[in-house]
Symmetry: C2
């Protein structure tokens, strides 16, 4: 309400953003799609360089910090600091600003949970950005579900994607994909920077994926007893498998119209989540018929040849049995991923070949251990699911 000048200002901000989005001035730099409404910085050019700006009239040293690489910024006569990064990979990156030694979020971007904090993100447009673009197709819902875990004695939360037709096809039941984030991330990642909902909306509209639910929960779960261990700097044992199998899945099957059987239930994850969900899938082959591991496998971080007699309780020893049970076994990584991922995923693939277990392998071109790899991996993986 406040006053008319303020409202005009706000509207001008929106219009301003609109103009910048339409124009191609500023040396080819365009505002990032992750910017807050009305913010013209940070910007990105066609080379993938990031240009950030912050007003800090009394500061003596301001830097743009993308993934730990710091770029100097320079101050103009109005106290506005501007700086550019080297070209970045296509896709989404976490970043921050450093103002006289203080590491802070860029006040101009929206915020994302990753790298262990809520902070800034920047998006370098990718050649194939259409796969996760907001398009004129029917859109599903992303619903926040709060629940109390008896196992962890704590409140937890998951997000549930339901496909566009879910609300109106009242008598239809749907298969479910359980989809997990990586380390230092949380249950918000897949439907925010991951665009899982938009990827599915687009594929369902194109009839390339069947309508399915996606359940995105938090991979950190400890009993109070195990959590106490970490105070003594011992590694507490995760209770996530127990939470998934005895709390999350029964809850989802009770509250949503699911097809509650193994051939209509898939699981996947990225990085830490790929490791976790492989263990869960292999320990519970009666519950899942499809697995997707994006940039991760349970032999991480080892690159050694896998001993099937001992690895994951020997589940892969009888390769024919695993091969028969799994409808989809999917692995992926980015071509630019660094150690130990190529080695450990490579060793896992070697084991699958040796055990004659059929799998699909996808490599995301020119991406590292980051979200564009995982968006593309999800886009590939869900097209294979629930088609038998």
């Amino acid at each position: 309400m406040k006053n008319r000048i303020s409202i005009l200002l706000l509207i001008s901000l929106f219009v301003c953003a609109f103009c910048y989005a339409q124009s191609d001035t500023n040396d080819g730099y365009q505002p990032s799609v992750t910017n807050q409404p009305g913010k013209e910085f940070p910007q990105v050019n066609t080379e993938g360089q990031v240009r950030a700006q912050i007003l800090a009239p009394d500061a003596t040293d301001v830097r743009l910090d993308i993934g730990g690489t710091k770029y100097e910024m320079t101050k103009d006569e109005n106290g506005m600091w501007t700086g550019e990064s080297r070209p970045q990979d296509e896709g989404f990156h976490y970043y921050q600003l450093n103002v006289d030694g203080a590491s802070v979020p860029d006040p101009s971007t929206k915020y994302y949970y990753g790298a262990g904090r809520w902070g800034s993100g920047i998006e370098i447009p990718a050649d194939d950005k259409e796969i996760y673009a907001l398009k004129n197709v029917p859109h599903g819902l992303v619903s926040e579900k709060i629940y109390f875990s008896e196992i962890t004695q704590a409140w937890r939360r998951c997000f549930v994607y339901t496909p566009p037709e879910y609300l109106t096809e009242m008598n239809k039941r749907y298969p479910v994909l359980y989809l997990q984030h990586g380390s230092f991330e949380d249950e918000t990642g897949w439907a925010s920077q991951g665009h899982a909902n938009l990827i599915l909306d687009n594929l369902i509209a194109d009839k390339k994926a069947v309508p399915m639910l996606i359940v995105m929960d938090n991979g950190y779960a400890y009993t109070p007893e195990e959590l106490a261990k970490s105070q003594a700097e011992a590694r507490p044992e995760s209770a996530f498998e127990d939470v998934m199998m005895t709390e999350i899945i029964p809850m989802i099957d009770a509250e949503f119209r699911t097809k509650a059987n193994r051939t209509e239930r898939a699981i996947a994850g990225l990085s830490m989540g790929a490791n976790q969900t492989m263990r869960i899938a292999m320990n519970n082959l009666d519950a899942f018929a499809s697995y997707g591991g994006f940039s991760g496998t349970s032999n991480y971080p080892s690159s050694d040849a896998i001993d099937t007699a001992t690895f994951l309780n020997g589940v892969f020893k009888d390769g024919a049995s695993v091969d028969k049970k799994m409808d989809v076994f999917f692995l992926s990584m980015g071509t630019k991923e660094s150690d130990p991922f190529p080695g450990s995923i490579g060793a896992f693939k070697d084991m699958l070949h040796k055990q004659k277990i059929e799998f699909t392998y996808y490599e995301s071109p020119k991406t590292a251990h980051e979200w564009l790899t995982w968006r593309r991996s999800l886009h590939q993986y869900v097209q294979l699911l629930f088609k038998n």
Copy 2:
């Protein structure tokens, strides 16, 4: 995945936060409930003072800025700056830090949209915080719904609260409350800092409110033609009423199990949203039978006596007709609100009295034009709804 040390560190952060939340050291200061996981600052004491901290070893001037009032912070030998505010009102406040002239979010809090930006928030525990606390009761969903507006030619988004029983009572239909944010806020506010979902979960569990849907949309809506005017610094006319009546309500009635009639449809808003929704309700008495105005009325900012012949197209001239049509007419404000709110809301109440229109008036004790006023107002208002 990364490495075990990192995971231990992350777990330690969670445990650390848990310890602080349980202890009562630090001069009675406790971490704010709005903090990011594992962050022990900012903290709040029983006097409502805020203590913030930020590492900024090379900075020369760092301040804590709550609602425009700046508090000096002091640096210790490690470059850690700490500062305290004067006692704040109970409830939720937007704030920021100033580092050598740069206004930035506190990197230790979660982020909220308000005051025209995504930024930090702090929560001063209120005596009646139980009304919006996360309790062991059944919880509804908050669902993100993306849709394209033909009127604004833009993508829009609303959040829809569905009560706990909505997923399983498949043949039941529900009344709907349309609930709007204030100026410089957006569709995220009510289910984030507003805790509308928890307020309803608690009231429904206590059988003090009937199960209902709440639809929270964005009050900024302009046709492309009107938006172009703001480039010329003219005030564009809002298309929000048109969007609400011809796009949002038909969409919700088509996709959710609603009772689609006026007595089962209510509308309310805070500040700018109170102003907007009063106009919408009064222009569409065939569509709504209940109205709630929290800290706002459509005669804003005037404190003059209302001329019912001209105000809102003369709708209040026939007071008996309005009184008969409205099941609930609810107004509220905080006892500490500043001009022009007491005057304009007072003039509006005077008019209702004069026209013999029955209404409920609520005053939130010791709060200003802020979210605790609006949480309490919602808590009062929804208990009156849909009970005829």
